[in-house]
C-alpha cells in the first residue's frame, strides 16, 4: 500500500477495512471535509481543522492525561490520502487511507492504517495505556462512523439519552 522509500513504515500500524456503497471520489471529498474529521474521531480525540490540510488533535487519556499534535495532509491522490503529525507531537503518528473499487454493486473499499509512535514505548500496549482504547478500535470505530455519515448523513447515537440511567454499567 505504501511502497515508496520516502513513505512511513506502517508495518506496526493499526489497520481496519470497511466497504461503503458509494463511489470513491464522493467518499474522498467527504473524508477531506474538516467537519467530517471533527465527527469521526470523537471516541478518541477532538479534531479541529486549522485549514483544509491541517488539523489540531487533542486526545484525552485516563486520569486527566492530555496529548496534543497537529497533522498535515501530505498526499491526497484519487486512491490514497496520507497525513502525518508535525514535529513536537506528544504522540507522533501517521495515517494512510486507501480507496479501492469493491466488487459487484458494493461500492468502495476503504483501507485505513494509523501508526502511533509514543516516545519510548512498545506501540500497541503503550497507546492503549495512553488513550484507554486499543489502536485497532480507534481505527475501526472511525470507519464505522464514517460509513454511517457517508450513507445516511448522520452518525448513530444515544448520547445523551442511553437506555440506562446515567449511562449505566454492564451487568
Amino acid at each position: 500500500m505504501t511502497g515508496a522509500a520516502s513513505e512511513p513504515d506502517l508495518a506496526a500500524a493499526a489497520r481496519a477495512a470497511i466497504t461503503i456503497g458509494r463511489p470513491a471520489d464522493e467518499l474522498r471529498t467527504l473524508w477531506l471535509d474538516p467537519k467530517t474529521q471533527s465527527r469521526i474521531w470523537t471516541h478518541f480525540a477532538e479534531v479541529t481543522a486549522r485549514d483544509t490540510r491541517s488539523a489540531d488533535w487533542v486526545a484525552r487519556g485516563p486520569a486527566g492525561g492530555e496529548y496534543r499534535w497537529c497533522t498535515d495532509t501530505v498526499e491526497s491522490g484519487l486512491d490514497q490520502i496520507r497525513w502525518t503529525s508535525r514535529d513536537g507531537a506528544d504522540v507522533p503518528n501517521t495515517g494512510d487511507l486507501a480507496f479501492r473499487l469493491a466488487p459487484g454493486d458494493r461500492g468502495t473499499e476503504l483501507h485505513l492504517a494509523v501508526r502511533f509512535d509514543p516516545p519510548g514505548g512498545v506501540v500497541g500496549e503503550a497507546v492503549s495505556k495512553l488513550f484507554h482504547i486499543v489502536p485497532g478500535e480507534i481505527v475501526r470505530t472511525a470507519l464505522y462512523k464514517f460509513r454511517a455519515l457517508a450513507l445516511t448523513g448522520e452518525i448513530p447515537t444515544t448520547d445523551p439519552q442511553p437506555a440506562a440511567r446515567h449511562g449505566g454499567i454492564d451487568r
Binding site: 466497504t19 456503497g21 471516541h43 454493486d105 458494493r106 461500492g107 478500535e137 475501526r140 470505530t141 464505522y144 460509513r147 454511517a148 450513507l151 445516511t152 448523513g153 448522520e154 452518525i155 448513530p156 447515537t157 444515544t158 448520547d159 439519552q161 442511553p162 437506555a163 440506562a164 440511567r165 446515567h166 449511562g167 449505566g168 454499567i169 454492564d170 451487568r171
Partner: protein, 387 residues
C-alpha cells in the same frame, strides 16, 4: 416521563426518567399508544443476555403517534399514527437495499461492543442490551425513533391500534419465518411454539399458500388459538411429536419446520433435564428441545426456519442437517420488508394480530403484566401496556 426500567435480574420498576429528544435530524419522537411484552424480553429480564444496564427502559414492540419531527424527516408528520419495527434500519446501506434490514450497517451506535461477539455489528434495536445498541425502549410514554422515513409506517384508517401493534414485531417475525420456507403447492408446515411469533408464523404460512399448518405447544389455550386460526394443534406433552407429524404427513415429514420457541424451550425427558441443569449453571444459555425436534422431524431436503432467539447451545446435531440435506434459514426480523403487505393483510382480515392481546395494563402496572406473561398466568399470551 414514566417508563418501565430494568434494575437487575427480575427487578422491574416503573420510574420517572428524562423525556427523549430529537438527537439526529432523521429522528422523530412518538407518543406511545400501545407497547407489548415479547418472549425475548424474558431473556433480558432473567439475565441471560449480557450488557444490560441498571435503568434500561424495556420494550421493542410498539405503535404510537408522532409528536415531534427532525428537520430531515419528509415522509411522516406530527399526528401520524405509525407502527415501527423493532430493528432500526437506515434504508440506504447494502443490507437495507437487499431487504436485510435487521443487518443494517449504520444504525448501531456502539458497533465496537457487538463486533467481538458476532464478527460484525448488526442493526441497533430498541431495548435489547447495550451490545445491540443501547437504544431506550418503548415501555414509556415517549420513545425516540431514528430514521423515521424508513422505520415509521403510517397505519391505515380502519385498522385498530391493537392490530397494528403486533405488526411491529410478532407479525413480521412470524411472516418472515414462513417466507423463509419458500412454500409451494401441497406443502405442510409445522410450527413449534404458539406464542405471538408462532401464531403469526402459522397465519403467515396460510397466507403464503401452505396446504396444512401444524401447531406444536403444551398450553391448551394457545393450542386452541392455533386451532381457531385453522392450524392442526399438537400437544407435545401428550403425543410423540415425531410420530404424530409422520402420521399427519403420510410418513413424509413436514416440508418445512419453523422454530418459534428459542432458548427457553420447555422439554421433556432426559434431554430436557440436561438442558435445564446446564442453563441454570450458565454452562449453556439455551434449552434447545424444540430446535432439535424440528431438525429430526423435517423431511429430507426440507427447510428449517429458525425464529427463536438463541445464544449458546450445545449438543447441536449438525450431522443430522447435513445428512438430510436440510436448508436452514434464520434471521432477526427484517420487518421493514414486510410491514406494508402485513398492514394490507390485516385490513383484509387475513391476518388477525389483535388476537394475540389477551391482557391489558396501564404502564404503572406493567411489572404485574410481565409477571403474568412470564408465568403464563390466566392464559396470558401477550400483555399490552397503554402508557
Amino acid at each position: 416521563m414514566r417508563a418501565l426500567c430494568w434494575n437487575g435480574v427480575n427487578d422491574l420498576r416503573v420510574e420517572t426518567v428524562a423525556d427523549p429528544e430529537i438527537l439526529n435530524p432523521q429522528d422523530v419522537i412518538l407518543k406511545v399508544r400501545l407497547t407489548t411484552t415479547c418472549g425475548s424480553d424474558l431473556h433480558l429480564i432473567d439475565g441471560l443476555i449480557p450488557t444490560m444496564r441498571e435503568g434500561d427502559v424495556l420494550g421493542h414492540e410498539f405503535m404510537g403517534e408522532v409528536v415531534d419531527v427532525g428537520r430531515e424527516v419528509t415522509k411522516v408528520k406530527r399526528g401520524d399514527r405509525v407502527v415501527v419495527p423493532s430493528f432500526i434500519a437506515c434504508g440506504r446501506c447494502w443490507y437495507c437495499q437487499h431487504d436485510l434490514y435487521s443487518l443494517c450497517d449504520t444504525s448501531h451506535p456502539k458497533p465496537e461492543l457487538q463486533e467481538p461477539l458476532l464478527g460484525y455489528p448488526t442493526a441497533g434495536i430498541y431495548a435489547y442490551s447495550h451490545a445491540f445498541g443501547g437504544y431506550a425502549g418503548s415501555h414509556a410514554q415517549y420513545v425516540r425513533v431514528p430514521f423515521a422515513d424508513t422505520d415509521c409506517f403510517v397505519i391505515p384508517d380502519g385498522l385498530a391500534d391493537e392490530d397494528a401493534l403486533f405488526i411491529s414485531d410478532a407479525a413480521p417475525t412470524g411472516f418472515m419465518g414462513a417466507d423463509f420456507c419458500n412454500i409451494q403447492r401441497g406443502d405442510v408446515i409445522a410450527v413449534w411454539g404458539c406464542g405471538g411469533v408462532g401464531l403469526m408464523a402459522q397465519q403467515g404460512a396460510m397466507i403464503l399458500g401452505a396446504e396444512r399448518v401444524i401447531a406444536i405447544d403444551q398450553y391448551p389455550e394457545r393450542l386452541a388459538k392455533a386451532a381457531a386460526f385453522g392450524a392442526i394443534p399438537l400437544d407435545f406433552t401428550k403425543v410423540d411429536v415425531i410420530d404424530a407429524l409422520k402420521e399427519l404427513t403420510g410418513g413424509r415429514g413436514p416440508d418445512a419446520c419453523i422454530d418459534a420457541v428459542g432458548m427457553e424451550a420447555a422439554g421433556t425427558g432426559l434431554q430436557g433435564a440436561y438442558d435445564r441443569v446446564k442453563q441454570a449453571l450458565y454452562m449453556e444459555t439455551d434449552r434447545g428441545t424444540a430446535l432439535r425436534q424440528a431438525m429430526l422431524a423435517v423431511r429430507k431436503g426440507g427447510t428449517l426456519s429458525i425464529l427463536g432467539v438463541y445464544g449458546l447451545i450445545d449438543k447441536f446435531p449438525l450431522g443430522l442437517l447435513m445428512n438430510k440435506g436440510v436448508t436452514v434459514r434464520t434471521a432477526q426480523q427484517h420487518g421493514q420488508a414486510y410491514v406494508p403487505r402485513l398492514l394490507e393483510h390485516a385490513l383484509r382480515g387475513e391476518l388477525t394480530p389483535a388476537a394475540l392481546a389477551t391482557h391489558r395494563f396501564s404502564l404503572e402496572d406493567s411489572p404485574t403484566g410481565y409477571h403474568m406473561f412470564k408465568h403464563k398466568e390466566d392464559g396470558c399470551l401477550r400483555a399490552v401496556f397503554m402508557p
